[in-house]
């Protein structure tokens, strides 16, 4: 038995919004990163679902790329968070405000 | 190719001077500037054009080469001279040379940069008057602002920064408005034009005009564009109420910059008005004649009144320029041979006379380090010759017969008094003519306070005779002023020949 595609879409949207909510509310850099991961995964859900829906593998393939690049992104992100901590003694993203206006 | 030569010499000269050592820069620039002056005088004698450059007249020294394609329109390097632009080119080259000479005394820092910029401005000014393609013209038109901005800003007086940036932004904004309107016009003309060559556009305008754009009908568009361009140029001229940048710029600018500013830059505005608004929009001129004449008259009287209230010699001359430019507008809107011709003549004449005035004021300033009427008196006692020339210049400004100023003003008055196009022409003219009384008022007042009476000076400098080179350059100008006053036909024939097609059409 199959599930209609729009349920997947609704699910992914929910996940996306959760991630977005996290991005907007979390001050901790790591949580920020995780939320972004959520949003990316929401996209992945879509891709897989639509891949089935359209009956071609492009979506799944793209999903793989997304994961890979997400990992790379996290790697760079962690590096930056590291130097952030080194310079500001904190991983709160709202702390560094030396540049504004 | 002669025009290219003119511009090239000035440009290269600018580069050379820019890198030359400071101490020789002045003399070097002078030597270089003699070349364009000589060439332009030769052009003057060799002039073989006839008719108006925009309305298929015979161009002199024409040259055209394709440049680039913008969509359906082609832009080309297109220059040439007619009876209107040639005298202005000559005026430019002569005034630039004299301006360089008159800066030998006052300019004592970063000379090479200064003289480089003066030559650079000369190149662009020549370009403005010689260009016959809109983009070529516009590029030179805008490029003039940069050196002038720096001249005022670097070598100017105490409030130079404010004055410079005000001048720069104000005039640039005006250019933007004008540019916008003109582009709209060109698109409005639709398929009837295929290039930005001004003659082509002018011809298209005169027979037919635009088809319309943005849902505006042809006439409506033309009217809107006319207003837009008039406003754009009005700032440059300047006419009241867009004049407030002028006194600031003049007062702060160093003498040579003032000479060029009043002598040539203001003429850019009136020249553009003549070339664009009054050549391309015969119907709109007719439509807006009365308001424009009103603006002109207001400029004349109001400008003169402002001059009357000043105590700074440069401010006086600056405001009187506003007044004189008002005459030009009046002559243009009259759309008669003597009116438009007189207006053009006034451009030249005022260029010479205001140049002379600023030179004389500059000489006095160099000696006294003040321009305040209240700070000095009896200067005639110390620098008789310079003062004598100053007085001569002042009377030239007042329109003394046998000097160019009178010829110009008389032509304008005569041309506008009986204008059939302008309603109430006699009334407008009579009111505007009252300017000749006010001008006498403030100039004589200034003379009485500064050059006559017992000698006294607030600033502690010992005033001696004016330097020979300054006197010499002033004498040259005075000579030209008198020559044109005695024999206006030296240029007036050529001018009227060029403006006849403009007024010839349906009036």
């Amino acid at each position: 038995m199959t599930v209609d595609v729009q349920y997947y879409v609704l699910l992914s949207m929910a996940v996306f919004c959760i991630g977005l909510f996290g991005v907007l509310t979390r001050r901790n850099a790591l949580l920020f990163l995780m939320s972004v991961e959520l949003m990316l995964n929401a996209a992945n859900i879509n891709l897989i679902a639509f891949s089935f829906y359209h009956g071609n593998l492009t979506g799944q393939l793209f999903a793989l790329f997304t994961m890979a690049l997400a990992a790379a992104e996290v790697a760079v992100g962690l590096g930056i968070i590291l130097v952030l901590y080194r310079n500001f003694r904190d991983v709160d993203v709202t702390v560094p405000t030396t540049m504004r206006w | 190719m002669m025009i290219e030569a003119l511009i090239a010499v000035a440009l290269l000269g600018a580069l050379v001077t820019f890198v030359a050592p400071n101490r020789i820069a002045g003399k070097l620039a002078f030597a270089i500037s003699l070349v364009p002056a000589a060439i332009s005088l030769w052009l003057f004698t060799a002039f073989d054009g006839s008719g108006n450059a925009l309305l298929d007249g015979e161009l002199a020294f024409e040259s055209q080469t394709a440049w680039l394609e913008i969509g359906d329109y082609s832009v080309s390097w297109f220059v040439g001279l007619d009876g209107i632009s040639l005298p202005l080119v000559v005026l430019t080259t002569i005034l630039c040379t004299l301006a360089i000479v008159s800066s030998w005394t006052p300019i004592d820092e970063r000379e090479s940069q200064f003289y480089g910029l003066v030559l650079f401005i000369e190149a662009n000014l020549i370009g403005v008057f010689a260009a016959l393609d809109f983009f070529v013209w516009f590029i030179f038109w805008e490029a003039v602002l940069i050196p002038m901005y720096l001249l005022i800003g670097i070598w100017g007086g105490p409030r130079r920064k404010y004055a410079a940036i005000k001048f720069f932004v104000y005039t640039n904004v005006a250019s933007l408005v004008m540019f916008g309107s003109f582009i709209a016009l060109v698109f409005g003309l639709g398929d009837s034009v295929t290039s930005f060559a001004l003659p082509e556009i002018a011809t298209a305008m005169v027979n037919g005009g635009p088809e319309g754009l943005f849902g505006l009908g042809g006439t409506a568009l033309a009217s809107v564009v006319f207003v837009g361009m008039f406003l754009g140029f009005a700032v440059k001229v300047p006419v009241v109420p867009f004049h407030t940048w002028l006194p600031d710029a003049h007062v702060e600018a160093p003498t040579p910059a003032s000479i060029l500013l009043a002598g040539v830059l203001l003429k850019m505005g009136t020249y553009a008005l003549l070339r664009f608004n009054f050549t391309m929009f015969p119907d709109q001129v007719e439509l807006y004649a009365v308001p424009i004449a009103a603006i002109a008259v207001i400029s004349v009287i109001y400008g003169a009144m402002l001059a009357l209230a000043q105590t700074d010699l440069k401010r006086i001359v600056a405001y009187s320029s506003v007044s004189s430019m008002g005459y030009v507008i009046l002559g243009l809107v009259a759309s008669t041979q003597f009116g438009v011709g007189g207006a053009t003549f006034q451009m030249i004449s005022h260029g010479l006379i205001s140049g002379l005035m600023f030179m004389a004021v500059g000489v006095i300033y160099n000696a006294t380090h003040t321009r305040m009427v209240t700070d000095m008196s009896g200067m005639a006692d110390r620098m008789p010759i310079a003062v004598g020339i100053l007085i001569a210049g002042a009377f030239g400004y007042m329109g003394l017969p046998l000097m160019s100023g009178f010829a110009a003003e008389y032509f304008i008055f005569f041309g506008s008094f009986g204008s059939e196009l302008l309603a109430y022409s006699a009334l407008f003219t009579s009111v505007a003519m009252f300017g000749i009384v006010i001008v006498a008022g403030y100039l004589l007042f200034a003379l009485q306070r500064t050059v006559f009476g017992p000698y006294s000076l607030e600033t502690d400098y010992d005033v001696g005779r004016a330097p020979v080179h300054d006197v010499a350059s002033m004498v040259v100008l005075l000579g030209l002023i008198i020559a044109l006053g005695v024999a206006p036909d030296l240029i007036f024939d050529m001018i009227t020949d060029a403006i006849d097609p403009i007024i010839g059409g349906e009036r």
């Binding site: 907007l24 | 009144m305 041979q337 008055f413 009986g418 003219t429 000749i436 009485q448 036909d489």
Partner: protein, 682 residues
């Protein structure tokens, strides 16, 4: 040059060119020349005089000259009378009138140059080259103005003489008063010239020509226009001619110092007395009147204009004469008398008395020049003291000065047989006969008549205070001697002042019935004239009716007797009041009037107020408005945009989560807009 034999007029331009050359020479080399440039001036003016006399003779011989020298410019005219093209040129018109005037001007100029040797050089003035250069320039301009053949040329040189007057009044520029007087003189006359220029432009734009004489003259054009009942600039031709005529008259009133533009002339006495003699008595001030005579044909077309001219003339004559009565400075007295005398000429011309006007112009030129030079001599005697109350008793110490001055005084007062009497009497006679028809003119005549009395008073008051009685100061005790350069011109002018009246003794002619009114014949083209510029043609045009008390002769003798009587009465009054050992000012007798007259009827006050009390504050207000409102708007625009910028950049708070929020917010906003339009939420 065989030119002189065949056509003397070939040399006409030289009349003006000589002084121009003198101007250049004096300006450039004056410092190095003996007499500091006086000699070029004298030679040049002598030359001009010579050629002028040749012209005079030639005209007497029936020839006239009208030629265009040089075309200034030409072009399309928008004339209301349908003339297609117009040419502005410099031309020479030598007819009886201009020939006469040329002689007068060049003669007086020569004499003044000579006199200057004594008055300026001998007194060790500095800046003499400037002085003589300006004198030369003036003579050039004046002579060119005189033989101008068109209105524009006339205007040009009219302005130039104004410039010279400005420069010469301000000759002693190191003082405070002289420059101010010069400024005033130029401004007031400029104000008149403003109307003049409008007139010139209007006439040119109306008739498409500015010529004085011939078929292409604007006079002829005006006549035709009136005959065709054309409509010009929305008026019928008659009115328009009047309007333009009055506009030109503005310049005339300014130059000839007629009410209300008379205020500059007394101040102009700040200049050297020689200048006052040449410019502010004999020639430049005459330019206005001369212009009216020159284009008399035009005014003749408009009775209204004529009546106004006559009335202004008559009024000014009286008005100025009364002020002359109370002045202490000898030059001031002469200045007001000059104003008053030109009033007479205006009166004469206004009533159509073309001959009378010109006659008085000529006589006045001589006797007023004489009086001024005489005053100059007195000033030398008195070591540059000008207050008559410091003088007295100079009669015996300087006989030449005294008797010549006396001749001038008699002429001025109009005592028979001196020149002034004949011309003034003729003016009054013409005014009277027209006045009997026209009440306005009659009023003008009355004023002119009363003025005769005051003329007598101030003239002889001057004579008595200066020369008679006891010396009232030690300088008057032993005056500074004067040289031949001073005396010679005085004598020449003295003779002329005594005799020139004899050229037109109308009453005598009438009584004896002999043709001795030579000037009238001269101006009437008996000897030679340009078509249309003759007395009788003018008289035909003038629309005034005339009538007489009894017969013409009776009227003539009556008016002559009347004026002579009044003059004598005035002289006698002066005699009783001032020809006493210890004269006093008699302020009390005059009472309030005294103050009023001393203050010149507050004319200067209100004019100064117009300039400084009204115009200047207005200008200041305009300036304030300009600085605050207009410039305020300009600066305000930039201020506002910068303020906006300062606010706008605050959205960049620096806190990254805010960025995320704003980013998402913006995105959602965009989504809503597009989604709404695209109907995605349906």
């Amino acid at each position: 040059m065989a030119g002189l034999a065949t056509d003397p007029f070939g040399f006409a331009p030289a009349i003006a060119v000589f002084p121009l050359v003198a101007f250049v020479v004096a300006l450039l080399f004056g410092e190095h020349l003996p007499k500091k440039g006086a000699l070029p001036g004298i030679i040049a003016t002598a030359g001009s005089l010579a050629i002028s006399l040749v012209m005079f003779v030639a005209v007497g011989g029936g020839k006239t000259h009208h030629a265009t020298l040089y075309e200034w410019t030409n072009g399309a005219a928008q004339s209301a009378t349908g003339v297609e093209t117009i040419a502005f040129s410099f031309g020479i018109l030598i007819d009886p009138l201009s020939a006469l005037m040329l002689v007068i001007v060049s003669l007086v100029a020569l004499l003044v140059h000579v006199f200057s040797l004594g008055y300026m050089n001998a007194e060790g003035e500095t800046g003499l080259p400037r002085y003589y250069a300006e004198l030369g320039l003036f003579t050039f301009s004046m002579l060119a103005f005189v033989f101008a053949d068109n209105l524009l040329m006339a205007f040009m040189f009219f302005e130039l003489v104004g410039l010279c007057s400005y420069l010469l009044i301000g000759f002693w520029f190191r003082t405070k008063s002289a420059p101010s007087a010069a400024k005033k003189a130029f401004l007031v006359t400029r104000f008149g010239d403003y109307f003049f220029l409008i007139g010139v432009v209007a006439i040119a734009a109306t008739f498409g020509t500015v010529g004085f004489a011939g078929e292409e003259s604007f006079v002829t054009a005006a006549e035709t226009a009136i005959d065709n009942e054309a409509t010009l600039f929305g008026f019928d031709a008659q009115t328009w001619v009047t309007i333009t005529g009055l506009l030109v008259l503005g310049g005339v009133l300014g130059k000839s110092a007629q009410f209300p533009f008379h205020t500059w002339l007394p101040d102009a006495m700040e200049g050297p007395t020689t200048v006052s003699a040449l410019i502010h008595a004999a020639t430049m001030v005459a330019a206005g009147v001369y212009l009216v005579a020159r284009m008399f044909g035009y005014y003749a077309l408009s009775p209204t204009a004529l009546a106004i001219i006559a009335f202004v003339g008559g009024f000014t004559a009286l008005f100025a004469a009364t002020m002359g009565v109370v002045k202490d400075d000898v030059k001031q007295v002469l200045a007001y008398s000059t104003i008053s005398q030109y009033g007479y000429m205006m009166l004469g011309l206004g009533v159509g008395g073309y001959v009378a006007g010109v006659f008085h112009l000529m006589n006045h030129a001589f006797f007023k020049a004489l009086l001024f030079l005489g005053a100059g001599a007195v000033i030398i005697l008195m070591h540059h003291e000008q207050d008559m109350w410091e003088m007295g008793g100079l009669k015996d110490k300087a006989p030449v000065t005294y008797y010549t001055f006396l001749a001038g005084a008699l002429a001025l007062a109009g005592i028979v047989p001196f020149s002034g009497f004949w011309s003034k009497d003729e003016v009054l006679f013409d005014a009277l006969i027209v006045g009997l028809e026209q009440p306005v003119i009659l009023a003008a005549y009355a004023m002119g008549l009363i003025a005769v009395f005051f003329t007598g008073v101030y003239t002889f008051r001057m004579v008595f205070l200066t020369f008679h009685g006891e010396p009232r100061s030690e300088t008057a005790e032993d005056p500074h001697p004067v040289g031949w350069a001073v005396k010679a011109p005085l004598i020449v002018l003295g003779v002329l002042a005594a005799l020139t009246g004899l050229v037109n003794m109308a009453p005598v002619a009438h009584v004896l019935g002999v043709d001795i009114t030579f000037l009238e014949f001269w101006l009437d083209g008996e000897y030679g004239a340009v078509e249309g510029l003759t007395y009788h043609e003018y008289s035909e045009t003038v629309a005034f009716g005339e009538s007489y008390v009894g017969s013409e002769t009776v009227t003539m003798l009556l008016s002559a007797g009347l004026s002579l009587g009044l003059a004598l009465a005035g002289a006698f009054t002066a005699h009783t009041l001032y020809n006493v050992p210890e004269p006093d000012r008699h302020m009390t007798k005059l009472g309030g009037a005294y103050g009023l007259l001393r203050r010149n009827y507050y004319q200067d006050e209100y004019q100064v107020w117009l300039a400084e009390g009204l115009t200047l504050p207005l200008a200041r207000a305009a300036d304030r408005f300009d600085q605050t409102v207009i410039d305020g708007v300009v600066n305000g625009t930039s201020t506002i945009s910068l303020f906006g910028s300062d606010r706008l950049k605050r959205i960049q708070t620096g806190i990254v989560t805010n960025y995320a929020a704003l980013l998402v917010g913006g995105f959602i906003g965009l989504l809503l807009v597009l989604g709404y339009i695209g109907g995605w939420f349906a």
